[in-house]
Subunit: 313 residues, 2 copies
C-alpha cells in the first residue's frame, strides 16, 4: 500500500514514501531545474530505489507513484501544459511512458500547489475544510482552491493555481507570465531583491550587503531597526494582503491556508496580514479564518498519495 511520491521543486527534488497518510521516509536532491527535467529522471529513479532499499520495501509492494510539478498540469492526461523558467522540457513529455517502463504502477500527476492543498485538507492544517484557498509563499507564489470539497481545476487545468498572477498594481513590472504587476512579481521570494533595488533607500540598508535576500532576512532586518526594511515590510504586507483579498473575493472561502518559507515567520507577519485582510474584505457572513501549514515540506507528498488513493477507488 506504499506510495512513491516525487515533488519536482524549482530548487530541490523531494522524494517520499507514503503509507496511510504518513511519510515513512524521504530524501532530497538539488533539482537544477533550469537544465530541464528529463535529464534528472534517472537520478530520481535511483533515489527512489535507494529509499525503498533502506526501508526494506520492494518495488512490487508499492501501489502507486505520484509526481508534482510547479507548472500548469493536466492531471487527467498526466501532462505538463506550461511552465516558466524551469523544467521546460517537461511540456508534452510522456511521464506515462517513463513510469510504465521503470515503475509499472498506477500514476498520478498534479500541480504542486494543488497537491499541497489536497495533502493539507486530507491530513494537515486544513483537515475537514471544504472551502479553502491555499497560498504558498515560496520562490514564487503558488495557490490552489477548493470549493465545496472539490479541488478547482477549470476548463484548461489552470483555475485556482494562478493566484500569484492576479494583478495587485496594474502599472507594476512585467511578469514572466506576460501580465503586469502580478502579486508574484512584487512580493515573492524571487522578487524581493529586484523590487528592493528600485528604492533609493536600499543602499543604506543592511539588506543591500547581504549575499541572499529572503523573506526571513527582510523580517530580521526590520526587527533590528533597519529603516528600509521597515518600509519595505509595510509594502510587502500590503501586496500580500491585496493578493489574499483578491482570492477571497474570487473564491468565497471559509478559510485561507498559508504555507511556504514566509510562514517560518508566521508570528511576525500573520497578525499584520490578518488585520489588513479583515479590514479590506467584503464578507458579510463573517470573517475568513487563517490557517498555517504545520508540515509544509510534507503536504505535496501527502497530497500526491491522497490523489493515488482517490484514483484507485
Amino acid at each position: 500500500m506504499t506510495h512513491i511520491t516525487i515533488d519536482f521543486g524549482g530548487t530541490n527534488i523531494k522524494i517520499g514514501l507514503v503509507l496511510n497518510g504518513a511519510i515513512l521516509a524521504h530524501s532530497s536532491m538539488p533539482s537544477y531545474s533550469g537544465q530541464g527535467i528529463q535529464g534528472r529522471l534517472d537520478d530520481a529513479e535511483r533515489a527512489v530505489r535507494k529509499l525503498l532499499g533502506e526501508q526494506g520495501i520492494r518495488m512490487e509492494d508499492c501501489t502507486g507513484l505520484g509526481i508534482a510539478i510547479p507548472g500548469i498540469v493536466n492531471s487527467a492526461e498526466r501532462q505538463v501544459l506550461s511552465i516558466h523558467e524551469k523544467y521546460e522540457d517537461a511540456i508534452g513529455y510522456s511521464f506515462d511512458g517513463w513510469v510504465r517502463e521503470r515503475f509499472a504502477m498506477p500514476f498520478a500527476m498534479e500541480n504542486d500547489a494543488r497537491a499541497a492543498l489536497i495533502g493539507e485538507t486530507a491530513y494537515g492544517a486544513a483537515q475537514g475544510e471544504k472551502d479553502v484557498v491555499m497560498v504558498i509563499f515560496g520562490t514564487g507564489i503558488g495557490t490552489a482552491v477548493m470549493i465545496d470539497g472539490q479541488v478547482l481545476r477549470g476548463k484548461h487545468h489552470q483555475a485556482g493555481v494562478l493566484g500569484g498572477h492576479l494583478t495587485t498594481d496594474r502599472q507594476g513590472p512585467l511578469c514572466n507570465c506576460g501580465n503586469r504587476g502580478c502579486l508574484e512579481e512584487f512580493a515573492s521570494h524571487r522578487a524581493l531583491r529586484p523590487r528592493a533595488m528600485e528604492s533609493r533607500a536600499f543602499k543604506d540598508s543592511v539588506l543591500s550587503a547581504a549575499d541572499e535576500m529572503g523573506y526571513l532576512s527582510v523580517i530580521e532586518a526590520r526587527l533590528s531597526g533597519d529603516g528600509f526594511a521597515a518600509a519595505y515590510m509595510e509594502e510587502l504586507v500590503s501586496h500580500w494582503s491585496a493578493g489574499i483579498v483578491n482570492l477571497i473575493h474570487a473564491y468565497d472561502p471559509d478559510a485561507v491556508l498559508l504555507s511556504g518559507g514566509l510562514m517560518k515567520s508566521a508570528e511576525a507577519v500573520l497578525p499584520l496580514i490578518e488585520e489588513e485582510v479583515h479590514g479590506r474584505t467584503w464578507t458579510p457572513w463573517g470573517k475568513v479564518r487563517f490557517l498555517v501549514s504545520s508540515q509544509p515540506d510534507a503536504s505535496v507528498l501527502l497530497g500526491l498519495s491522497k490523489l493515488l488513493d482517490t484514483k484507485s477507488n
Copy 2:
C-alpha cells in the same frame, strides 16, 4: 407557462413577461433604490398586473416569479445577504412572504449578474458556452462565472459576483466594499467623474463642462480630439484589461462575455481591450474569445425565467 420577472436595478426596475425564452412584454419604472425596496413592492405588483392585463394573461396562468437584485443573494433561501448604497432594507426581508401573499406561485431570486449570465448562456450571446466569465460595465461593474456548465456560487453565495472588487491598484481609492483600488472604484460609470477630477488636466477637457459623464461621453470626447479624454481612455482600458486578466487567471474560461453601457461603444473599445488582454494573459491552450451581449436589457429577465424552468424540473 408565462414567467413574471422583475429586475430591481439601481436606476430602474424592469418588469418582463417571459415565455419560452422570449420576452412577451416589458415595462420599466424608476427604482429610487436609495430609498429602499419595500416601499417599491406595491408599485412593482401594480406594474406586473398592468402588464398582464395588457397582454390578456391571467395571474393564474403564470407559473413562476423571478427577482434579480444587485447584491449578494442566497438563491437557495431567496434572501438578500448584503447590498451597498441601495435597497438596503432588502437585507433579510422575506420576499418569500410577499410572493406567497401577492402572487402565490413558485419563486426564484438571484444576483443580477448571475441571472444575466444564465440568460446569455441559455438564450443569448453565450449560448452553448460552458466556461465563461461575464463582465457587466454598468453603474458599477458586475460579474458572474460559469465553470463546466455550472454557475459558480460559492460557500457564502458570493463567488464570481465580486469581480468588480478585485484590486487592480492596491494604492487606489477606498471602495464601498471596504477594499482599496477595486476595478469598480477606478473604471465603472460611477467612478468616471470622481477619478477624472483627480487629474489637473480635467478642467481643460470638454468633459468638465458636461452635466453628466458616462462611458459614451469619454469615448466621444476622445474621438473629438480632447487631450484629457485620450489619456483617460488609455488609463480606463488598462484598468478594464487588468480586471479581465484577473478574471481569466482566476476562473480559466473559454470566453469572456461583455455587457452593460460600455458595450454600446464596443466597436471603439473592444479592440483595445482584446489586444491588451491577449498580451497579458497566461493561456497556453490558446486565446480567450470575447463575446458581446446582443440583448443586454433582456438577459437578466431571461435568466430569471431560465432559473424558474430549472427549479420546476
